[in-house]
């Protein structure tokens, strides 16, 4: 059953992924430990979303293994422990007439199970989660009528409503203005500290992120850095986004 002593939430070992003849990921090792706020950074097209999709079993890797909560991915059943907001969240079928409430209630699914209707307790939880992301007043609005940033917050509420232990966010701040981004990071930081929510945040924008995260992983086909935020230096970045990628690619997997 659910084991609370689990320490490694995600462990990816030697992941290889190819599209045709193009190598997208080569020999990536990544782990996320309980309580971490890990920022996964890398330029556009560096394979971040691909890595996340492999992590969640949405794509099959050409090599390597994934375990979630110390269980092999194929055997993993406790999906309510994981919250995921995909990069495409904002472009999910928005022609679909769904209210904010209906979208968030989908997130309850993994908790409610088969033959189930939402009870009073579930409904209260939905309200609380909407409050948490500042969207309660939009509860009965159509999701398609909201701005990109608001939609993103609704999808975060959907991911949070099942009270996951880890939240995975793929580029949640794309198309959101700077002030909102600040608020957003503050919200994540608070969830991480106060509710001990483990976070994995994917972004190509390193700017603000480094101030809030506890750990950083830099991806460009392979991992160039994976360690605590303090050890992370500007040089790691300039080299990755700059011309020296080839030199650095030899030190992949240099983490715990």
């Amino acid at each position: 059953m659910v084991d609370d002593r689990i320490n490694t939430m995600i462990n990816m070992n030697n992941i290889v992924f190819q599209r045709g003849h193009q190598t997208i990921l080569s020999h990536v090792d990544l782990s996320v430990k309980k309580g971490e706020f890990l920022g996964l950074v890398g330029p556009n097209g560096s394979g971040k979303s691909t890595l996340i999709q492999i992590m969640l079993g949405l794509l099959e890797p050409d090599g390597g293994t994934v375990s979630l909560f110390e269980q092999p991915l194929e055997k993993f059943k406790h999906w309510e422990r994981i919250g995921y907001v995909s990069q495409k969240a904002a472009s999910v079928n928005l022609g679909f007439p769904a209210t904010v409430y209906e979208v968030v209630s989908m997130g309850m699914f993994s908790k409610v199970g088969l033959f189930r209707f939402l009870n009073r307790h579930h409904k209260k939880k939905i309200d609380e989660t909407l409050e948490q992301v500042g969207m309660l007043e939009y509860k009965h609005r159509n999701i398609g009528e909201l701005s990109g940033g608001q939609q993103q917050r609704v999808f975060i509420a959907r991911a949070l409503v099942s009270e996951p232990e880890i939240l995975i966010l793929d580029e949640p701040t794309v198309g959101v203005d700077a002030a909102t981004v600040q608020h957003f990071y503050q919200l994540l930081s608070r969830l991480n500290r106060e509710q001990e929510l483990t976070l994995l945040l994917v972004t190509h924008d390193v700017g603000v992120m480094t101030k809030y995260v506890s750990h950083v992983a830099c991806l460009q086909q392979t991992l160039h850095f994976h360690g605590s935020a303090e050890d992370f230096e500007e040089s790691d970045l300039t080299s990755m986004y700059g011309e020296n990628i080839e030199i650095l690619s030899h030190q992949h997997g240099g983490h715990s």
Binding site: L58, W79, K88, G95, F96, M106, F109, S110, L114, H140
Partner: protein, 278 residues
């Protein structure tokens, strides 16, 4: 049960007026309405094969509705498989299946010994031709699909809205996609006698399109599409009875008129509500 042919037809029509639009909402949201069209043609292939076999070998207990359903189910599984493996499936494979289905049907029809009228009933529907065996088939498939819709409604909606999100919340995608195929096959087969193969796609798609214009929530979408579907069926049946028109055609024309009215009505509502801001 002792029902007149008209009563049987009306019961059948009411069942279909509810279930076809309900399926239509999910197919519209999945952006795969064309699948219903392709499948209905495959169903016709099965049906004409059934008529051909039944007519040629009279000792075989082959009922065209059942062979139609079998083809429909096989076709829907095949389509679902293609859909998962090829992203551009809708543009490519669906038209191929659609035309191959109709072509084969034409061949089978030309070989079969039965008369024009029977084909006409299957192509365009005819509620007066709903026999007792047909009604039983319709009622059983109706009950099965209603139960499946109720039990798996959350999964069906979630998968239609967001495949990735659904997969990550632990929904077994293969099961739900199979369920979609199964439901589509059921609904198409049960509609054959009432609106006919050529019109069933319209009864699935039109009420859902009209409801999409009106609904702001998914709940409302489902309710509206059922209301519009039943309104089309009832007005179609009454209209065809009084004006001696083909029922299937009248039902679909009603549905099209409702969609047209909704499309016209919406800009009017907008102008009106601009003048009277709440």
């Amino acid at each position: 049960m002792d029902l007149t042919f008209l009563e049987r037809g009306i019961i059948a029509a009411l069942c279909i007026g509810m279930i076809a639009p309900l399926l239509g909402t999910l197919l519209a949201v999945r952006r795969s309405s064309i699948i219903a069209d392709s499948l209905s043609h495959v169903t016709l292939t099965g049906l004409s094969a059934g008529v051909l076999i039944g007519g040629t070998f009279e000792f075989l207990p082959v009922h065209p509705l059942y062979t139609g359903f079998a083809f429909s189910l096989a076709g829907s599984l095949f389509i679902e498989k293609l859909r998962q493996e090829y992203a551009s499936f809708q543009e490519l494979a669906a038209p191929i299946i659609l035309s191959a289905g109709i072509g084969l049907s034409a061949v089978f029809m030309s070989l079969a010994p039965s008369g024009q009228n029977e084909w006409y009933d299957y192509l365009f529907g005819s509620i007066v031709s709903v026999g007792e065996g047909d009604l039983l088939f319709i009622l059983v498939t109706f009950l099965v699909s209603v139960v499946l819709f109720i039990v798996f409604f959350k999964e069906l909606v979630f998968v239609s809205f967001d495949q990735e999100g659904a997969a990550v919340s632990g929904i077994h995608m293969k099961t739900i996609n199979f369920l979609f195929s199964f439901l589509t096959a059921l609904v198409i087969s049960m509609s054959m006698k009432v609106v006919g193969i050529l019109l069933v796609g319209a009864l699935i798609a039109l009420p859902a399109s009209a409801a999409l214009q009106l609904a702001k929530s998914f709940r409302a979408l489902v309710l509206w599409s059922i209301i519009i579907g039943e309104a089309a069926v009832i007005s179609g049946v009454i209209g065809s009875y009084h004006l001696s028109l083909a029922t299937g055609g009248s039902i679909v024309v009603s549905a099209a008129l409702i969609l047209g009215a909704v499309l016209l009505w919406k800009p009017l509502v907008r102008i009106f509500s601009r003048r009277n801001p709440l």
